[in-house]
Symmetry: C2
Subunit: 105 residues, 2 copies
DNA sequence: GCTACCGTTCGACTTACATCGAACTGTTGG
DNA sequence: CCAACAGTTCGATGTAAGTCGAACGGTAGC
C-alpha cells in the first residue's frame, strides 16, 4: 500500500535527539541487542533473535524498529534475509563516548 | 537536632541498572534538569523549577522522584526548602564516561 | 502557637509503550 | 512458477508513564 520497497528509512544522525537514543537504550532487550551487535558486528535478524531472550518475532521486530528510528542500527535487506548493523562510527561522531560508556557496563 | 525527619530514600548506585539510568535521562525535562545541576551544582527545588520549562510543581516533583530513584540525584531537606544535587562522583564511578557523554551533547 | 510557605503524595485521567498472533510482502530454492 | 521462508506491519489488549489539581506534612517566620 504505502511502499513496495524493502528498504526501511534510517534517520540522519544529525537529526536524532539524545533523548531518543537514551530511550531506545533504556529497554533491556534492546540494550542487549546493541551489545550483541557491538561484539559480533553485522548479524541477520534471525541471528540476533536466536541469541537474545526468546521473544516472538513481531515483538523483536518492534524493538528493532525502535532502535532503527533512534538511529542506533541499520536494518537492510540481504536476499531473503535482513542484516542488522550498529551505526557505531556515526554514533561515535554524533555522541562521542556515549556508546563506549553504555557498552562498558 | 535540626536533622530533619523527612528524608527520602536514595538507592545505592551499585544496585541501579544502567537501563534505569538511561530511562530517567530519556525524558527531555529530566535531561535538562540534570544538565542544570551539572553546571550550577546544588540547587533548591524551586530554583530548578524556575529555570526549566514551566510545569506544575506536582509534575516536577514526579520527575525529581524518577531521577532520585534511578540514582541520579540526591534530594534532601534543607530547612523549609529542599536541595537537589547531581550524584556526579558516584555516577562517574559506577558508569564511567556516561555522564560526560550525555552532558557533552 | 498560628500561619504562610515549600515540596511531596494522592487520585483521576490521558497517552505512550510493550506484547503477541495473524495477515501480509518480498525473496529465493526447487 | 510456486511453495516455503524471513521479517515487517496490523490490530487488539494490557500495562506503565506523564500530567495536573488538590490535599497533606514539615518547617520556619512572625
Amino acid at each position: 500500500m504505502t511502499t513496495t520497497t524493502r528498504e526501511l528509512t534510517h534517520p540522519d544522525l544529525a537529526d536524532v535527539q539524545l533523548s531518543a537514543v537514551l530511550f531506545a537504550l533504556s529497554d533491556p532487550t534492546r540494550l542487549d541487542l546493541v551489545r550483541q551487535l557491538a561484539t559480533d558486528g553485522t548479524l541477520t535478524v534471525a541471528e540476533c533473535q536466536s541469541i537474545g531472550a526468546e521473544v516472538p518475532k513481531s515483538t523483536f521486530s518492534h524493538h528493532l524498529k525502535t532502535l532503527r528510528e533512534a538511529g542506533l542500527v541499520r536494518n537492510e535487506p540481504a536476499g531473503r534475509k535482513r542484516t542488522v548493523t550498529l551505526r557505531r562510527a556515526e554514533l561515535d561522531q554524533r555522541f562521542p563516548g556515549l556508546l563506549a560508556a553504555v557498552l562498558a557496563d
